[in-house]
């Protein structure tokens, strides 16, 4: 029995110690806020550039949970985040309208591109976004959709509408709704040699491109605005409103905007600060 008791005791001790101790070597900031954001900002690597600069300036740590825009706003509604940084202006205005936040701040924009096979069977290269979608639908060329209520997904649905196409009527086997993040959608498109709408940042940092390349870009409709909001402490009293507001203030300040503009992949700027926008 002694051995059992001893081993149980040491096991319990181990659990207690390992459960309490934090990861060694990481100095914990005095206060840490949680930001619900999108896969596109996380996977493009922007946060790795921005957050250390903010923590250095303010002493506030930032944890980012990367979700689709719809999910990120839901997490904020549930009170599981202090800040939401997303890209779906209509959904953001609704979020503020419902009182979940008192103010939405424009931060930056990037742009979407239509990526597709190099040999371009639908002949979409160089067209406007709505023209390209019409050609893809007419050719029934494989098209991958995020299908996950993300900002990119709602932008795609908006473009189909603007192209005058009723997706419910025209969609068929060629339209693949993957219900996943930008990366998995790109992986699927790369494997299936399909067209898809991607944000430029994720595309630039994406490595498994196969035969895909950018076919449509620069169309004004493809601009993709990001907004940031502090979760309303009246709705969720535990929200670290002061630290969260400090983060938002820094993002829209000179140094924050400069840090956004300074982030590049292969010399290409991914996000364009525009805190002075609507």
């Amino acid at each position: 029995m002694d051995l059992l008791r001893r081993s149980l005791l040491s096991l319990g001790l181990f659990v207690a110690v390992s459960g309490l101790s934090t990861v060694p070597g990481v100095a914990e900031p005095a206060e840490t806020i949680t930001v619900a954001s999108t896969t596109s900002t996380e996977q493009s690597g922007l946060f790795k550039e921005l957050l250390p600069a903010f923590t250095q300036a303010s002493g506030i740590g930032v944890k980012v949970v990367a979700l689709g825009t719809g999910q990120a706003l839901d997490a904020a509604r549930r009170g599981d985040a202090d800040v939401a940084l997303v890209h779906d202006t209509a959904a953001e205005e609704k979020f503020v309208g419902e009182g979940w936040s008192t103010k939405r701040y424009p931060v930056m924009y990037n742009d979407f591109v239509i990526v597709g096979p190099k040999d371009d069977p639908a002949g979409a290269a160089g067209a406007s976004v709505v023209e390209a979608l019409r050609k893809i639908a007419a050719a029934k060329a494989p098209f991958v959709s995020r299908g996950d209520r993300s900002g990119t997904h709602s932008a795609e649905l908006r473009y189909w509408k603007e192209a005058g196409l009723d997706l419910g009527a025209v969609r068929g086997d060629w339209y693949k709704d993957v219900g996943q993040g930008m990366g998995p959608a790109l992986n699927t498109a790369s494997a299936a040699n399909a067209y898809l709408l991607s944000d430029r940042g994720t595309w630039l940092s994406f490595k498994n491109r196969g035969d895909l390349k950018i076919l449509v870009e620069g169309d004004k409709r493809l601009f993709n605005q990001y907004g940031v909001m502090v979760v309303n402490p009246d709705k969720h009293p535990h929200v670290k409103a002061k630290a969260a507001q400090a983060f938002v203030d820094w993002l829209v300040s000179g140094p924050g905007q400069a840090a956004i503009a300074g982030y590049r992949i292969g010399g290409e700027q991914l996000f364009f600060p525009n805190a002075d926008a609507r």
């Binding site: 390992s18 459960g19 070597g25 944890k63 549930r78 009170g79 990366g183 992986n187």
Partner: protein, 231 residues
């Protein structure tokens, strides 16, 4: 394919402190969960094996069925409980390693309990009558049989560890895969796959397999040493 493999080995050779920290968190979460799961699951399984009570068959059936609980469902249920809008929201555990430990503990308890019940029940067939003839109650009998089967129980605990460290559904949902805080080996592998960096994903995968092998080898060595010393 060959090129991917070559790159994979270059990445393994260049493993940086970040990967070491991620591997450390994976180990810390899964070992803690298996430790807690053992403290709860082994006595639970042993008691079910030796005690006679109404509805025992049902309990055994439930334990066996619960071995197959999908991690992502456990994650989702725990997410709803730990969310700020949920019943335990005030703990502020969501998106922390604590939540991940809780989820994996829930995941491994049925597995450990069901296997421990089977192991102890088999031992009871040989020794049960004798123990009962001493007039020992179920708690004493369970304790003696646990001690008697301790080396077999190690295998059950190892199986639970394998399930915990290789799952992604639960830790992803309740942990949030936050860089530097709740990113584990499995969520990192998934993330790198999503980013299309397949060589790095594969490198991390090989590291994870190496960790599992190392833990199971260590346990086997300890077990054979203990068997020689105390068996």
């Amino acid at each position: 394919m060959l090129q991917t493999l070559e790159e994979t080995f270059q990445r393994i050779a260049a493993l940086d402190p970040e990967v070491v920290a991620i591997a450390g968190l994976s180990l810390r979460v899964s070992l803690s969960a298996v430790g807690l799961g053992t403290l709860i699951g082994v006595p639970l399984g042993a008691l079910v094996a030796v005690a006679a009570f109404p509805g025992r068959k049902l309990v055994v059936g439930c334990l066996n069925a619960a071995m197959g609980l999908p991690p992502v469902v456990i994650g989702l249920v725990l997410y709803l409980i730990l969310s700020r809008s949920g019943p335990l929201g005030s703990l502020g555990l969501l998106f922390t390693p604590g939540a991940m430990i809780a989820a994996q503990t829930v995941l491994v308890i049925p597995l450990i309990a069901a296997l421990a019940r089977q192991i102890v029940a088999d031992a009871e067939e040989h020794l049960g009558e004798q123990l009962r003839s001493f007039g020992l109650g179920p708690v004493r009998r369970a304790a003696i049989l646990i001690y008697d089967t301790r080396f077999s129980l190690v295998t059950a605990i190892l199986a639970a560890f394998g399930r915990a460290i290789s799952e992604i559904g639960a830790v992803l949902v309740v942990g949030g895969n936050i860089d530097g805080h709740t990113r584990t080996m499995t969520t990192a592998i998934s993330l790198e796959t999503q980013k299309g960096d397949l060589p790095l994903a594969l490198a991390l995968g090989l590291v994870l397999i190496a960790i599992v092998l190392a833990v199971s080898a260590t346990a086997s060595l300890l077990r054979s040493y203990a068997m020689r010393a105390y068996g």
